[in-house]
Subunit: 324 residues, 2 copies
């Protein structure tokens, strides 16, 4: 990889599992002071009185190396005694809360109740988990992803995603509260940093993980002003989503399930601020169609199985940085 | 034991571990429709956002046969992964919340937050734990035991009991909120039941478990009106408390640590409504001094090690019933 200057600043935008893999890669190739990782909070919700931030937690657990690689969410070596006891008491068990995971939600809920911001609480949690890199919520304000479905029903994101297992046919998405929301102080600071040389959109769901981050008022404008390269990694490889409902959603929204369609979605929504795109080797044939959108393109392996895969993809994405 | 009529009604008053043992005994010798078990709620507190009722839970877990007999509180086979994770996040871990136990607190807190009463929620929890006998909080209103200490400091009960391990020297107790509290509907109903023939004060701490129950406004007066026998089992045996700080408290309050002193405490506070007293065999020599207080007295084994001990003591206490 190209040698990066010490004051190099990178911003990573991430949803849950897929995005967190590249976020981990970035944290392995960049020093803590060189990167800020922004997590989507549109899928946050209140459950059993707890303030739960699934994407934020996934990024935290991934960087803390306590994530459950087998099931893809929650903590490794997790136990479920709370949930078993809750079931006996006829409680709501559709959202699986592990015993260790609960400590995160309880700590967050207690501190938010004391009037601290989600950013401050996240910093505390990261310190507790010995995470050196900055993980920052996109906003300290409540933004709630609402899923519109073909039946006319609207669903809160976790009801759609977990309770209903992504079965309803989607017709669109809303981000309740986003009009009045502001980027979190850490997000703003990173966007305004004079040394910012790259924004990486990790391979997360474009509709429900990346869009909410970029649609926080002021974010698009700040990126446009800064003229910083922004590169997205396609979450769609060979017509399939590596993880989650992205491909299913694209189909239901009448879009082809291709990396090109993802690039078109981002171009349509964010125009000039998206400058680069990373396509998987399996989709090499699509690179011309993505380049035709005016995007600088790299074809590489984006399917991150090993830690080295994550590191390699992070290094590939850094090739889009301003100085390079 | 004497054959009891089908419509026989007994009321048991209980604090935590010691009281719960006799409560279990009563539940083994009386049908669900024959007994109501009232639990102290003066030691309830809010911790990490959870509404925790330690005595109520101990009685529930004991009757559900899920109580942890080794450590004397919480659930059997309990795990502590939540607490371990909380410690890593620098949370408050002085009050030990087990993974299974948490489900009780979460369920209670959620339902209270929905506007349901503690009595209603307790009924739900008991149903979930397959408990057939009625376990009822003394009040649905918040009553908080405050411990006055020699240093002049006042402590909430759980801070005194758990966090500070009963180390501070006590000078007295207050029950915050008790003036405006009412007995719970189930407590009132049991007190007003025309078939009520016996009230059993289980061997619990007189100052912080039994007093709060009997001091709920209206309770003493109703018992006096009903002229129902009320028998107390001494929690002090041979100068020691079987469990908990009762003997230490008596010493600090300048009382002898004897069954007689317990009987005197109750007589001084409740006068004529206490009619009987059960003394342990080891304290047989004290029975004359207890009888001298005008109390009918039985000397028997009160140290409940086996289930049969609990059943025997329950049967002994039933000898005080009106019809006998």
């Amino acid at each position: 990889m190209t040698k990066l200057p010490d004051n190099f600043q990178c911003l990573g935008l991430s949803g849950g599992v897929g995005g967190a893999k590249l976020a981990l890669g970035l944290s392995k190739v960049l020093a803590p002071e060189q990167v800020t990782l922004i997590a989507n909070t549109g899928d946050d919700f209140n459950h059993l009185g707890f303030h739960i931030c699934p994407d934020l937690d996934t990024v935290m657990y991934t960087l803390a190396d306590v994530s459950n690689k087998e099931i893809g969410w929650g903590q490794e070596g997790e136990t479920w005694h709370f949930l078993e006891a809750l079931q006996r008491l006829e409680g709501e068990t559709w959202f699986q809360l592990g015993d260790r995971d609960l400590a995160t939600h309880v700590t967050r809920t207690v501190k938010l109740g004391q009037g601290r911001t989600l950013s401050e609480v996240t910093q505390d949690l990261c310190r507790g988990l010995s995470i050196d890199h900055a993980i920052v919520p996109m906003s300290d304000d409540t933004i709630s992803t609402v899923v519109h479905t073909a039946s006319g029903e609207t669903l809160s994101f976790q009801h759609y995603f977990v309770r209903d297992r992504c079965e309803p046919v989607v017709t669109g998405f809303d981000f309740e509260g986003i009009e009045d929301a502001e980027p979190s102080p850490g997000f703003l600071q990173a966007l305004e940093d004079p040394n910012l040389e790259l924004i990486v959109i990790c391979p997360s769901n474009p509709f429900v993980s990346v869009d909410p981050i970029l649609l926080v008022p002021g974010v698009k404008e700040l990126i446009a002003e800064r003229k910083v390269p922004m590169v997205a990694v396609s979450p769609i490889v060979s017509g399939l989503a590596i993880k989650g409902p992205a491909a299913k959603m694209m189909k239901e929204l009448g879009m082809p399930q291709t990396a090109t369609a993802v690039a078109e979605h981002y171009k349509g929504k964010y125009g000039e601020i998206l400058t680069g795109f990373i396509i998987d080797e399996q989709d090499r044939a699509l690179s011309a169609s993505v380049e035709a959108l005016g995007l600088e393109t790299i074809v590489t392996n984006t399917v991150m199985v090993t830690l080295q895969d994550r590191i390699n993809l992070a290094n590939e994405s850094l090739k889009f940085a301003k100085g390079n």
